[in-house]
């Protein structure tokens, strides 16, 4: 009797799981295929640049999501891994002429060592104290890089001269002169971070990280070694973040402590996840899709151009001049206000908000009221 029932329950759960998985999988496959042919169809360097920024943001968000989203440890010091990765690869390239595909391993090793150091220090603390400690350690690293001028060139940063052409078996793969190789590199990086998140979520590690996020003491009592699993999550996260840092350094070609080690970069990684939907596979993708176009539009002053084009304000009028002059400068302010609005009204991020909307629309179709008390199973 019991055996038969168990199989049935199993079947039901299995069916719903695979039924839900099939459609999104098709969509993902189609989107990925479209992204791979995109550079053949679109020649505009600006659009390619935007896409590369988008990939970078996705990779950064997904990297942070492992420790912040699944494990619930809100590190606001992830610029440390980003910057250390970027500096390791670019310094080796610039001063020792070691190609970045070798330097990237040093970058990974450096990030892992630093993550272990930071983890050992900061994971003794919980909640807001952990957040503060993570900021502090990242700031220490920024200050060291800023002041160790002989090694890092200090505040002047490193301006990359050029990247050696990538040869494979005597054939030229790319000479890095156009944006296309960076587009594909960025795409692969974004997909890889997404895949790592998927694998983490569907493993023992993912279950343990989520248990730690929900209740550390309960997790501890269920046989979960807290510091071990937190450090594993941080190491994975740091590794991916360092890869993003290397990619950024190679693509932009210039790094300095302010741009790759600043606390605003750390905050940006957190925001991508919070806006999109924290602790979900596709949350950071959605976050990047919202934030990258938004900041780009604000930076390019699209808002005032839009107001001029629909004729609300005359470009030549006094107000128009004021807007044209100042709205672009206020882009950080507007960006901040929008972020606050999203956080206030969509606590589960845009992705969670969308899911809730869909659920609300679907409910009238299958109107099964949930029982108020659970004891309807005829027990006792």
């Amino acid at each position: 009797m019991r055996g038969a029932r168990q199989v049935k329950t199993f079947g039901r759960i299995h069916l719903t799981a695979s039924g839900f998985a099939a459609l999104p999988l098709l969509i993902v496959a189609a989107v990925v295929a479209a992204l791979f042919v995109f550079p053949w169809l679109v020649a505009s360097p600006y659009l390619l640049h935007l896409m590369i920024l988008l990939f970078l943001s996705v990779a950064m968000g997904e990297s942070w999501n492992v420790i912040g989203g699944y494990c619930g440890q809100y590190s606001v010091g992830h610029a440390a891994y980003f910057g250390v990765g970027a500096y390791a690869a670019l310094m080796l390239l610039q001063y020792k002429h070691i190609a970045p595909w070798w330097g990237v391993w040093v970058a990974i090793a450096a990030a892992l060592i630093i993550s272990l150091l930071i983890g050992t220090i900061c994971f003794r603390l919980r909640g807001p104290y952990f957040v503060l400690a993570s900021i502090a350690v990242a700031e220490i690293i920024r200050l060291v890089v800023l002041n160790w001028k002989q090694l890092t060139n200090g505040a002047e940063g490193i301006l990359l001269v050029d990247i050696p052409p990538l040869m494979l078996g005597g054939r030229l793969v790319t000479d890095w002169l156009s944006k296309t190789p960076f587009y594909y590199l960025g795409l692969i990086l974004a997909l890889a971070t997404l895949l790592v998140n998927y694998l983490v979520q569907h493993s023992k590690l993912g279950y343990y990280l989520q248990a730690i996020r929900e209740d550390q003491d309960a997790a501890h009592s269920l046989g979960i070694n807290l510091s071990f699993y937190k450090n594993v999550a941080l190491a994975i996260s740091a590794l991916l973040t360092a890869l993003s840092g290397v990619f950024y350094g190679l693509y932009i070609g210039f790094i300095d402590p302010a741009s790759v080690l600043g606390v605003d970069l750390s905050v940006q990684m957190v925001l991508i996840c919070i806006i999109g939907g924290i602790g979900t596979n596709f949350g950071p993708v959605v976050g990047a899709l919202v934030l990258v176009p938004l900041s780009e539009a604000l930076r390019a002053n699209l808002l005032s151009k839009f107001l001029f084009s629909i004729g609300v304000v005359q470009e030549t009028s006094r107000v128009g001049g004021f807007l044209k002059e100042n709205l672009a400068h206020a882009h950080v302010l507007i960006y901040g206000i929008l972020v606050v609005v999203v956080i206030l009204f969509m606590p589960d991020g845009v992705l969670g908000f969308g899911k809730k909307l869909i659920a609300r629309r679907a409910r009238p179709l299958s109107a099964t009221p949930t029982p108020l008390v659970g004891g309807l199973d005829g027990s006792t």
Binding site: Q6, Y207, Q210, D217, S221, G223, I224, N225
Partner: protein, 240 residues
């Protein structure tokens, strides 16, 4: 040999002795009731045994091994599991996933853990709630989920901290049956409970704590007829 032995255990918080010279031994297969007024040190004792607090002095021997100083996750792996007075559901995980987290203490495979968790939920008659979020459960279901989750870690000794607190009589009765059922499966249990009727019914032995000290220990009958216990619970005027 006793499954759990506590030898002269002391726990101080600053100058306050939350546990003072506790001596007790729990034989395999029995249910030990642990009672006492609020603040008498019952939960502190649980926290010391399971590794959340290092004891100030004394020894805790589990399965012949000294376990003071071990972290809670090590204690769990050794075969001791505890529930919490204030339930701690992993709210954003489903009921099934909650129990799976417990089962994963003994396996690395999600498939095995899922099967074990489903089995555990069926024993609790909770399989119909498997896909609900743990945060959406009623208090009675949450208490049952706590028990299902720790049972999934395959313990030999179960420490239950007020699993009946806040339940209605029907739900309490269900938990009592559950505890007796767990006993039949050969597990040893230490049960903190305020409901005297329930504790008298299920316990083989009862230990009474008062102000951190052990006041009495014996069979339920011996304990209720002990004048010290009556004084501690009802005040001295009732002893006549």
């Amino acid at each position: 040999m006793a499954l759990l032995e506590i030898r002269h255990l002391f726990k101080f918080f600053g100058g306050l002795a939350a546990n003072s010279d506790i001596v007790c031994s729990v034989e395999s297969g029995m249910i030990m009731g642990l009672i006492g007024p609020n603040g008498s040190g019952k939960t502190t004792l649980f926290n010391c045994i399971t590794g959340y607090y290092p004891p100030t002095k004394g020894e805790i021997i589990f399965k012949g091994q000294r376990i003071n100083g071990l972290k809670p996750d090590r204690v769990c792996k050794l075969g001791m599991a505890r529930t919490w007075q204030k339930v701690r559901p992993l709210a954003k995980l489903s009921v099934l996933e909650n129990v799976m987290v417990g089962a994963l203490a003994r396996t690395g495979s999600l498939k095995v853990a899922r099967r074990a968790a489903l089995h555990q939920l069926e024993l609790m008659r909770m399989e119909n709630r498997a896909n609900s979020l743990a945060g959406s459960l009623s208090i009675g279901e949450r208490k049952k989920l706590e028990v299902a989750r720790v049972l999934a870690t395959q313990p030999e000794l179960l420490l239950l901290d007020e699993v009946m607190g806040g339940l209605n009589p029907v739900e309490s009765e269900e938990i009592i049956q559950l505890i007796l059922d767990i006993k039949k499966r050969g597990l040893t249990q230490v049960v903190i409970e305020h409901d005297m009727k329930a504790i008298m019914r299920i316990s083989d032995r009862v230990m009474v704590l008062n102000s951190g000290e052990k006041l009495a220990e014996g069979t339920p009958q011996q304990v209720v007829s002990n004048p010290d216990v009556v004084t501690a619970y009802l005040g001295s005027a009732h002893v006549a």
